[in-house]
Amino acid sequence: MARRRDPAELLPLTPQMLHVLLALSDGDKHGYAIIKEVSRRTAGQVTLGAGTLYALIKRSLGEGMIVESAERPDPALDDERRRYYRLTAFGRNVAVAEVNRLESIVEQARAKRLVGPGRARRA
């Protein structure tokens, strides 16, 4: 029986990796859709190049964070050469663990009054 992996083993994730997992958290997507989703959600602050994206996809597949999805949208709306990717339960746990880790850092920064209400944001 395969050993249950601890999501913490893969932390910290790179920001790009977290964005890819987030992009897949609400449904299966193909590569270009992931790039568009990340760019839209971050208002263009994070742009994934094709090479970077597929390096992340390759690693995510290898670590079991995502799988290739067998389900495909309506063929009329789809190019059959595209592959769709789905977040696995383990991948979701890794993303949650990374978000919790980042949240903990933000809380520490708030406790030290580095950020938070009443603090002027420095440009």
Binding site: A50, Y54, K58, R81
Partner: protein, 231 residues
Amino acid sequence: MRGSRRFRWLLRILPADTREAHGHELEQVLRDSYAERHQARHGAIRFWLAVVFDILRVAPRQHAEAAVQDVRYAARSFRRTPGFTLAAILTIALGTGAVTAIFAVVNAVLLRPLPYDEPERVTLVWARHPDGNRVWLAPAELEDARANVPSLEHIVGLTDLELALTGSGAPEQLHAVAASASLLDVFGIRPLRGRGFTSGDDLDSATRVAILSDSTSGRRCSSPSRRMARH
């Protein structure tokens, strides 16, 4: 489509396993990105700059990861079938050694130019004894050749000698070559220090002159100036 060819050419920078697994998708994504961006002002240039930079940034790590995977796979194979792996390593080692040895000989004999001027004009001549063995020419035969074969620029006689070097330090047995004075002219070389042979050195009445090899000179003479003086 020209763009597709360029994409495929660019993707060759990535390791083969990445291309096999995701090459078509990468191409598709690049085509989609290009279609969206190339009509903007300077869109095509900015697109290609971004793509080339991205691929060049990602490729080294991908290659490194592929190399690590190969090493891991090799280590696992070694653990599973050590006998076969050792036999393969031994075969490769012997093959490499044999090829290296053969190349060393071919390089020295056939490929590497001889270390003197116009080697194609130099030839070694023997006489053939009635019993079939090759023998050196006699001094008189050399003189005949000098007198009767004007097309030869130089004719040099050579013979092996065993000499004892005495003087400072312990006497030493040396392997030497006795040669006519034009030996250095034939090969177009000059001694590093001192003088070469002159035609006067060929006369029977001349003082015998020697040129020491660099190793003998370094071993027997303490200073370059003394090495020069020892003729």
